[in-house]
């Protein structure tokens, strides 16, 4: 595969332009106003898979946003790689914090990306990383370097909890049969330190509504005598964590695995500089659960974050109102063994229990997923590791991520294969944030590394 660097060099401008075209379509799965754009994006992905060498590419209807499926089968005797990715993106707001409109991609150089980075919603998460696999396939088919079978399953609901992907997998178990599932929807430590994500946190996402009086009231005439839903919601949220930032929901920690001293010691060896970390985020101090390091808080420990809150008068100026309602979106990151459905119920039960009689609360479970851990001794992981060695010149370090890909644990359960998370993004890429971007160097490095994975995976499989 000597000539892959060459092929990338010759085609990189086109690779970048094709991604930019894809990024221009606002495929926001959370917002029903973007239905048409979702379909347009699925259509674009379908055409690109065909161009790259897939046959039988289809846009598969689901009760929600469609899944794009494509495959290239060489021989029943060869192993099969199933590539998973998603074409939907997070909502772009707050819009006013974007330096360029989120769906008008621009290339700009940054300190970390002197070769330039593409700025747009979805640049890294996940259109950019998903598209690396399409271009890697193009290289392999055009240069007769595809050593095994490949299948693509690109969904449109990852950012809203992959609500219908389970249903789709159920319907298509045979079609999706594979030996390993390959995903690029995570990051790596740095451009100098490649890493493979070996763990993901689970998720439970909930919306709560606190209702006090039957109408907004004058805070002078009723203030102090009638329960204010915002004051009360604040008290309820505050009580969900104690002074040590332990979560107070009864039973929440029952199934949380405590890592051994050895494991924690090994984790602590990962390159990390707290001063740099704080400086990057412009914070004076980190903040989290007592007794755990920042890396641990962000990976092996469960969390509870309010993702959004609103109630009362939020316009310009002043309004002395005691509102009828207050709302919050709350998500919990979960660790292995925590059952997100069980945690969701524990939250609901507890939140309803702590509500004072002066208000009524409604707890609406949103979506969720299980945590996942990849064993590092399986063929897929070893193949990925060797691929990084080829292109980075060093062995990638295994790393537990704090993020969630709710569907991953389901893949293993339903399709009985291991999931390999080869991520090429960086923490600084601002995914889910304004000014999301993806380094062109990372993008091309991904395209270069992926074919090596196919080569080594096929070879190691033969040896098995």
């Amino acid at each position: 595969m000597k000539d892959i660097k060459e092929y990338i060099e010759e085609n990189k401008d086109r690779f970048v332009q094709e991604l930019i075209d894809l990024l221009k379509i606002p495929s926001i799965s959370a917002d029903s106003n973007y239905e048409k754009d979702m379909l347009k994006t699925a259509e674009a992905v379908k055409l690109k898979l065909q161009d790259a060498g897939c046959d039988q590419v289809k846009i598969c209807e689901t009760p929600g946003h469609p899944v794009v499926y494509g495959e290239r089968i060489i021989s029943k005797d060869l192993p099969t790689v199933l590539v998973y990715g998603h074409y939907d993106v997070q909502p772009p707001d707050p819009l006013n914090l974007w330096e360029n409109p989120p769906f008008e991609p621009v290339i700009q150089n940054t300190k970390i990306h002197p070769e330039g980075a593409i700025f747009a919603r979805g640049a890294c998460d996940d259109k950019g990383q998903m598209y690396m696999h399409v271009k890697a396939l193009e290289y392999m088919t055009k240069n007769d370097e595809l050593p095994c079978n490949v299948k693509f399953m690109i969904e449109g609901e990852e950012e809203v909890g992959s609500e219908h992907l389970g249903w789709f997998i159920e319907q298509n178990k045979e079609k999706l049969a594979n030996d390993v599932i390959l995903i690029s929807d995570t990051g790596m430590v740095s451009k100098e330190t490649p890493s493979i994500t070996t763990g993901l946190r689970g998720l439970s996402y909930i919306e709560v509504e606190v209702t006090g009086p039957n109408r907004d009231l004058h805070s002078g005439l009723y203030g102090g005598a009638v329960g204010n839903p915002i004051n009360i919601l604040s008290k309820m949220i505050a009580s969900l964590t104690d002074a040590n930032n332990h979560i107070t929901i009864p039973g929440f920690y029952d199934k949380v695995e405590e890592l051994s001293k050895e494991e924690r010691k090994k984790m602590a060896e990962a390159p990390y500089n707290e001063e740099e970390y704080k400086d990057k985020l412009k914070i004076n101090d980190v903040y989290g659960e007592a007794g755990y390091s920042t890396l641990e808080r962000a990976s092996i420990r469960p969390t509870l974050d309010v993702n959004g809150i609103w109630g009362g008068y939020i316009g310009e100026g002043a309004k002395t109102v005691l509102p009828a309602k207050a709302f919050a979106k709350i998500s919990m990151r979960l660790v292995p063994n925590q059952d997100w459905k069980e945690i969701t119920q524990l939250f609901k039960k507890h939140f309803e229990a702590i509500a004072p009689k002066a208000v009524t609360v409604e707890v609406k479970p949103h979506h969720g997923g299980y945590a996942y851990v990849t064993p590092i001794d399986n063929v897929g992981f070893r193949a990925a590791s060797k691929a990084y060695e080829e292109t980075f010149g060093q062995t990638p370090i295994p790393q537990r991520s704090g993020g969630s890909i709710p569907i991953v644990s389901l893949f293993e359960k339903e399709l009985k294969s291991k999931i390999i998370l080869m991520g090429f993004g960086l923490d600084t890429d601002a995914i889910h944030s304004p000014n999301e971007h993806f380094g062109i160097w990372n993008y091309l490095k991904g395209i270069e590394t992926i074919p090596w994975f196919y080569k080594y995976f096929t070879a190691l499989k033969k040896e098995e």
Copy 2:
């Protein structure tokens, strides 16, 4: 003044129509998008004052929204009544809870208002109650029943803290010289139980901004390790009141007067039914400071209410974001002797002190005002009391209100006269809320009662 009932009977349809026309102009002082409508409203008030018999009516510029001034001077030897009111209104949101658009007035019958009520923002607070005085003047001038001098000062910034009225009074002390200040911007117990407001709470209105990281973050990658401004703001707000709903700001209660057993006993005699109160608001329980009754919590005790809160993702669906910022609008109702400027500083100092190092907070004082108590033995109060006796057939009960008219205490300080609060609205009129309304019976009753105040005030003044 026998013929006043007659005059009202003959003109009531016009009185209602004129008010409706005034209510159609969206004079929202808090929102700079309504500048033009503010001026349009001031212009309309000016014309109505002229029609009613004022001379030298002027729209007086201020650094903010203008004040409409008018007067009718009969003789230097006669007492002068200064009428204060405001032509600005509260913002109407949440709009979706209005049964009819807030600036398209409609008349509907309600259980409490079988004679019909006018539904519109400002119907009661304060266009409707202010306009009673204009129509009362019309009656007195047209029927030669005006026994003394009258001045009108109708401002446009009451709902945003009367920011520039102090400046205006400073500039016009002589012009505004008077013997009593008459205001209808409060309510009465019920249509059967007339009452005069003898006390108002003070106010300190503050906006806070809590900033964490320099950008919105992915709650999976950073959740648990980086301080979440919403979680932290919730904890800070929650800590501002203890388990007994006492306010925890150091020094907050230092100057609060404790009422005597006797005073509290007298208060407790006011007609009040907790079951009816809860039923009207559709709440299962009241909620407030331990050791005080609902009436006390809503009148003689200081309070702290969050009037608005926002941060993170508040759109449709889910977004797993750890936001950079969270905001809240917080107001405190104050009681006699509490200095709102001092309380504002105590709040600022405390709020900054309790912020964890993981965030920075900005506390922006908005506006405020002092509490006020009217002595019930002065001429103005006695004249008002006799006026109610004429039109309601019974003696009004003195009542402390929980609301605030920040400027009232300044009137006494600068103009050296007492303030009489003759309110004709009802608690159920939903001022500051969706579907605000004003009973036509109350509106006309106000127009009927006011001239009697002039008559008795002038007479009692002579006796002095």
